[in-house]
């Protein structure tokens, strides 16, 4: 039977399981107790604005919001003087789900979905509700399943203080929520972080009483901070377009935390949004935490905030970019898209870019040293470069069957990091260095896999790669980005053999593997071995020093006097480095340096080792010259490839 829409009645409504809906609403909030605080304050702020506009409240009336926590009775009373609701709003909007008032739905308020009340409710078993409005006093009771008593009209308020406003008494507050709601040391910074601008408003009072003790949150005076310590004040940042609509961040401010007497109230940049009544953004809607800008963390040298109201406004298609909980802007890489990141970088560059912190520098150097030393530590060919006097920074054990130098240079498995956090990405790459003569035209790189050595299981595999190799033309390829979900020691490995279509059992030409650690993992066997080898452990690079020479090679090794190890001199005029410097910033530039220096360090140490060995063996001048020419030719080829964007 062919049906058309015009013939349908659509006279039945789909059933809604209210209790399940409330559970889902709760699950929209990462921390429902924070949702309770945010939604309460947001509702009161929207309410007072609306009621002032409607003439239900005098414009000069202050807003007071009270939270009264009783841990013994497991009760939470929330009370405001925001003017309350009329019967229809109470009935049709507050006690409804996803049915906001017209005012809220139009985007005039900070809230807009008609869900906030239910996350407040979801923190307990049931609640008494009362709203005192110019049109009357209305009361009901509601439970967590979404059922409520018939709304009664009272002659006078029984829960509230007598002010026009709304009052909830939540019974049976959940233990997990109560543990936070009854801890002022947790509540105060949460209020400050989420409502700092509102707390600066002299006409707004928030009182928080826990078991009879009343507290008032103290937020830093943002205007004062701005006047005294502003590094940057921009009335608007460069707009961005998302799905055809333009948005922009307004009133962007960054503060110099180094000049403040008090600790900064937060790190990064807080994105606040407002409503149409207050005239200023008062509530946190997202938080941009820069990852690669040293002055924003450890220690915090600057922090900031901005007005993100324009990003949260309803779009033409009715959607908004903020999530249901109003605590996240649903853009991937919000900082980048909104141009906040770029501005924070600019401020950092202008005021703090002098140096990495000592900690960061040490971390970066250690990473390069570890990577180089780790790669080279897999062979005993470099024992003469070992630095025997220092302990603890060696690269640990040598494997039982070290590969030869030649095999090391033909196929190399590479990662961009040596240590990663759980959940962090690591780049897996392969490098093939064809020598002067090749036995085959085509080669197969196979058994490309990542093994979790701790669990002894293969956690990642990719199909073989068949590729043509040209003599003396190195091949480098990023295989994939691997996300490390479990702590442990991992080995990334592969092998290479000649390839002839249809032929099998071609001898493996080379194998390669590299190890990386995920999380704060300490491998017992490595530790023991490392301790045992702490005297005489292999350490090649003890210093990295830049030089600049557009016509020079990428790096070279210089023994430091008095047996203090080797200095890796790196050419910062090398095209790959120049390119990275021009295109990358912060963490990305740092990581790229680490990767480049690690690769260069390995090559340079090998070149240095070969040269020394040839000299020890009494090689003729011709051979030594040839060796130098080999090094230069390899560099020239590599440079040419970079210059040609290959």
């Amino acid at each position: 039977m062919n049906r058309t829409k015009s013939k349908q009645k659509f006279d039945n409504e789909a059933k809604v399981n209210t209790a399940n809906s409330i559970k889902r609403i709760r699950s929209d909030y990462n921390q429902p107790w924070v949702g309770l605080l945010r939604e309460t304050i947001q509702n009161s702020t929207d309410g007072v604005g609306f009621n002032r506009l409607q003439g239900n409240l005098p414009n000069e009336q202050d807003l007071t919001i009270e939270f009264i926590v009783d841990t013994v009775e497991k009760e939470l009373m929330i009370r405001d003087n925001a003017g309350g609701m009329d019967f229809d709003t109470f009935h049709n909007n507050l006690l409804a789900i996803d049915n906001p008032s017209d005012d809220k739905a139009d985007g005039n308020g900070a809230g807009s979905y008609g869900r906030g009340f239910w996350v407040i409710m979801s923190c307990g078993e049931w609640a008494e509700l009362e709203t005192n409005h110019t049109t009357g006093v209305f009361a009901s009771s509601v439970n967590i399943e979404g059922m409520y008593d018939t709304i009664q009209t009272l002659d006078e308020p029984s829960l509230g203080s007598g002010d026009k406003g709304t009052c909830y008494r939540i019974h049976g507050v959940r233990d997990d929520d109560m543990s936070y709601l009854s801890d002022w040391d947790t509540i105060e910074p949460t209020l400050v972080e989420n409502f700092a601008p509102l707390l600066n408003d002299d006409s707004v009072n928030i009182e928080y009483t826990i078991d009879g003790e009343t507290h008032t949150p103290e937020a830093p005076d943002l205007n004062k901070l701005r006047q005294e310590y502003a590094l940057c004040e921009e009335s608007e940042l460069e707009p961005f377009t998302y799905h055809g609509e333009e948005h922009k961040v307004l009133d962007f401010t960054m503060i110099d935390a180094t000049k403040m007497d008090d600790e900064p109230p937060w790190t990064g940049v807080m994105l606040f949004k407002g409503n149409d009544y207050l005239g200023y953004p008062f509530m946190k809607v997202d938080w941009y935490e820069p990852r690669g800008i040293p002055s924003t963390k450890n220690p915090t040298k600057m922090f900031g905030w901005c007005d993100a109201s324009d990003i949260c406004r309803p779009r033409k298609d009715g959607t908004t970019l903020e999530n249901n909980a109003h605590d996240d802007i649903q853009l991937s890489r919000t900082g980048t898209k909104t141009n906040i990141q770029s501005k924070v970088y600019d401020v950092h560059d202008a005021f703090f870019k002098d140096n990495y912190t000592t900690e960061e520098k040490t971390e970066l150097l250690n990473a390069v040293q570890n990577n180089v030393n780790s790669l080279l530590g897999t062979t005993d060919a470099f024992d003469t470069f070992s630095k025997s006097t220092r302990s603890g920074t060696g690269t640990g054990p040598s494997p039982s069957s070290p590969p030869s130098v030649t095999s090391l240079s033909f196929l190399r498995c590479k990662t961009d990091k040596y240590n990663v956090e759980v959940g962090e990405d690591i780049s897996l790459g392969i490098e093939v260095n064809p020598q002067n003569t090749l036995d085959y035209d085509m080669y197969e790189i196979s058994n490309i896999q990542v093994r979790n050595k701790t669990e002894d299981e293969i956690v990642y595999e990719v199909p073989s790669i068949i590729t043509e190799l040209v003599e003396n033309e190195p091949l480098e390829q990023i295989i994939d980005i691997f996300t490390c979900d479990e702590m442990g020691k991992y080995v990334f490995s592969a092998e290479i053999s000649g390839y002839i279509d249809g032929e099998e059992n071609i001898e493996t030409k080379d194998t390669s593997k590299t190890t990386f650690i995920v999380g704060e993992f300490e491998d017992a066997s490595t530790k023991d071995e490392s301790d045992k080898n702490s005297e005489g452990s292999v350490e090649f690079i003890s210093e990295v020093s830049p030089f600049t020479n557009p016509d020079g090679g990428k790096a070279f090794i210089q023994p430091i006097s008095d047996g203090e190890g080797l200095r890796l001199n790196v050419n910062t005029a090398w095209p790959a480095f120049v390119n990275a410097k021009e295109t990358l910033r912060g963490d990305a530039f740092e990581q790229k340096q680490e990767k480049l220096f690690t690769d260069w360090g390995v090559d340079a140490v090998i070149d240095h080792w070969v040269t020394e060995k040839l000299q020890d063996l009494g090689a003729s001048k011709e051979i030594l010259d040839f060796n130098e020419k080999r090094i230069k030719t390899t560099d020239d080829l590599e440079k040419k490839k970079v210059m040609n964007n290959e």
């Binding site: 002098d354 140096n355 990495y356 000592t358 520098k361 020093s545 070279f556 910062t572 005029a573």
Partner: protein, 230 residues
């Protein structure tokens, strides 16, 4: 603060170090960065600072390094003086900063650089007699006596075959600065620790030679010896 001063300061406080190294393609100059506890720093600003420094000074550091390999003694001082004169003359850089940046002196006071520039200026055609002087004595002499006297000392050292070393250098200073003839120069010399353990004949020779080097042939050894013994 100009850029040379800024970088010289960093060297002086040990924050950065200048390395000269042989690379497969020739001599290179790299910079160790010891700021903080790390020997490594590659923020963009530091790279910029290092690059600026190297573009300004790399060639001169390598030139001085080559000079050091090729020459020694007074000749080395002359050549360094020539480079310093050529470079410092047109640039906003002091003798001290030049010394720090090129590792010419052991400290940043610039005295040494200034003395080597003096050697170059006083003997532009290398008219010094290297066999009678070492580098440090002639360097010091450029500041002890005037240009005319130094030229005199140089020719007299050759004429009388006197090797000018530390005792004669000190005696020259005493004679040069004496305004009351030989007795005053002897008196000054006797106050020196350096001469306390010398016997009278040896000290007589030293003071006598100093007079000769400065062109004063009017004194006699016996007169000096008598004054010493008084």
């Amino acid at each position: 603060m100009n850029k040379s001063r800024e970088f010289a300061n960093l060297i002086q406080e040990g924050s950065v170090g200048v390395n000269i190294a042989k690379s497969p393609w020739g001599t290179e100059v790299s910079v160790s960065d010891n700021r903080g506890e790390s020997k490594y720093a590659f923020s963009k600003e530091q790279l910029e600072q290092i690059n600026n420094f190297l573009s300004e000074y790399k060639e001169i550091i390598i030139e001085i390094d080559n000079i050091r390999k090729e020459y020694d003694g007074v000749d080395l001082a002359w050549h360094i003086g020539e480079i310093a004169e050529r470079y410092i003359d047109g640039e906003d850089i002091t003798n001290g900063d030049f010394a720090l940046i090129t590792n010419v002196g052991s400290s940043g006071d610039g005295t040494y650089t200034g003395q080597m520039r003096n050697i170059y200026n006083i003997f532009p055609n290398k008219e010094y007699h290297t066999e009678h002087f070492n580098k440090s004595t002639i360097c010091e002499l450029t500041q002890t006596v005037d240009e005319y006297s130094l030229k005199n000392i140089n020719s007299n050292a050759n004429e009388y075959n006197i090797n000018v070393r530390k005792p004669r250098l000190r005696a020259i200073r005493d004679v040069y600065n004496s305004d009351d003839g030989v007795s005053n120069s002897v008196e000054k010399a006797l106050d020196r620790k350096l001469f306390k353990n010398m016997d009278s004949d040896e000290l007589t020779d030293v003071i006598y030679d100093a007079h000769l080097l400065l062109g004063d042939e009017s004194v006699s050894k016996s007169e000096i010896k008598n004054l010493i013994l008084e």
